[in-house]
Amino acid sequence: MGEQVIVCKELTKRFGDFYAVNNISFEVNRGEIFGFLGANGAGKTTAMRILCGLSYPSSGSATVAGFDVYRQQDEIKKNIGYMSQKFSLYENLTVSENIEFYGGVYGLSRAVIRERSAALIQTLGLEKETKKLVGELPLGWKQKLAFSVAIFHRPQIVFLDEPTGGVDPVTRRQFWDMIYEAAAGGITVFVTTHYMDEAEYCNRVTIMVDGKIEALDAPQALKQRFGAGNMEEVFYQLARSAKRSSD
């Protein structure tokens, strides 16, 4: 590790007199699985939108994959992948068409798309489903495909916004196998989740409360510091006092 792919210093986003993100500072290392937790309304989504180049901060500084969040939003977008539970794939396109579309959006050549697409379909065991509409796939497969598509252009960082919501317990774990593999391959994983057991799978975890980072450390160290048996208890101790609640 060592090399930092996300650096935030005193990052703030204000809407009127409401501080959605209030002076947060942290760094994420290359190849790290970084858990970004917080109560509903703590400011996670706002912070993530800034880091993905979708929104400007009010003050403070941040670089993502070496690019500045004020001046180089387009460069950021080219160097990251993004997947959310709510939207990731086009349901009315087939498996192959979705892969081709995303490859194309990220400017990969047809030859590269063809080659990676074949490898991907084989890894996922979707050979028989390539001509099926994504809308017809079971949720678990959709999520695995969505993740694969999000890292199809080999981004430096992938942002995962509650990627495992609602899936069965076996698929949820298979999904985490994919996350580990991507991280082992050098992709930095920035992930939010409401499943506290998944917080344990992260190298380091931040917990946001009311726009601020209240804790940032390895899960083991957080549990020790808060005298808690698991991450759910750590989270509960910190978030219980939250004043805000929204999405």
Binding site: N40, G41, E162, G165, D197, Y236, R244, S246, D247
Partner: protein, 308 residues
């Protein structure tokens, strides 16, 4: 009389091509807090929609408080409260207007049944003039619950009320359910979060349209047929991959900071054998112990049995 009865209910979509609910039977006792536990696509919402008379089953029969969901649908609608998984209140009406609207629909007033919603609604009162669409997630959830309760239903149906909600709000919500139960309301609630199962009196584990097991949560974990072990090491992902290659190991899944393992055959020295295997593979910081299974362990085991 049972509060809710499902007898051989089957529901398909797309002209029979998609089997959403497959011959499901279950009963909920009066005053019981009953949980339907399963992932998205398991058939939970279809079951709720059959019971709330919004959807007709292909096969089977169902009753709520002894009333048939097809024949007596109008009477059932008077006595049930339903909170759908998707926020379904009027976004353009204020908090108070929504509540007033639902009370009027059922021919009652907010004042007449205020006792039931008092504790929940007091938290919403500061925002009573805010439009529902402008509320935060946790507040929307509380308002939806109030609207489902304002006509004093006998049976309450809650479809994934805690999905996407943080740990603190989830605990608050379950405290509210316990209070409603103490008022004598029968509650059928669904959730994809296995850890919420232990808060119900009885649960049904449901997957791919079929019920895998129904019982009290303590009974379900007690029926786990084999010994379960937890293991960890400094490199937990390395340990996971290694243990899956261990020929003596039957199953191995990540559970928070530990792995949970079962063995192909029961032996007295399983802990030593697992420790030894981990050491051979060069692991450090190894801990192995026998543990009591949870609902999620049971769910995974039943799922795997079914697919084999």
């Amino acid at each position: 009389m049972e509060a809710v009865v499902l007898d051989g209910i089957t529901k398909t979509y797309a002209g029979g091509k998609v089997l959403a609910v497959d011959n499901v039977s279950l009963t909920v006792k009066p005053g019981e807090l009953f949980g339907l536990i399963g992932p998205d696509g398991a058939g939970k919402t279809s079951i709720f929609r059959v019971l709330t008379t919004l959807l007709q089953a292909d096969k089977g029969s169902a009753t709520v408080q002894g009333l048939d969901v097809v024949k007596d649908y109008q009477r059932i609608r008077q006595i049930l409260g339903y909170m759908p998984g998707k926020f379904s209140l009027y976004q353009d009406l204020t908090v108070e207007e929504n509540l007033h609207f639902f009370a009027t629909l059922f021919g009652t007033t907010i004042e007449a049944n205020y006792g039931i919603i008092r504790e929940i609604y007091e938290q919403l009162k500061p925002f009573k003039d805010r439009r529902a669409g402008k509320l935060s997630g946790g507040m929307k959830q509380k308002l939806a619950l109030c609207c489902a309760l304002i006509h004093k239903p006998e049976v309450l149906f809650l479809d994934e009320p805690t999905t996407g909600v943080d740990v603190v709000s989830r605990r608050e919500f379950w405290d509210m359910l316990a209070r409603l139960k103490s008022m004598g309301i029968t509650i059928l609630v669904s959730t994809p979060y296995m850890d919420e199962a232990s808060l119900c009196e009885r649960i049904a584990l449901i997957q791919a349209g079929r019920i895998m097991q129904i019982d009290a949560p303590e009974q379900i974990v007690r029926s786990y047929p084999v010994r379960l072990y937890a293991a960890k090491a400094d490199d937990i992902y390395g340990l996971l991959k290694d243990m899956r290659e261990n020929p003596a190991v039957e199953s191995c899944y990540a559970f928070g900071e530990y792995l949970h393992l079962t063995m192909k055959s029961e032996t007295a020295d399983a802990i030593m054998a697992l420790e030894g295997f981990a050491r051979e593979r060069g692991h450090t910081g190894i801990t192995v112990k026998e543990i009591a299974p949870g609902i999620e362990d049971t769910f995974i085991r039943l799922m795997n049995q079914k697919t084999q």
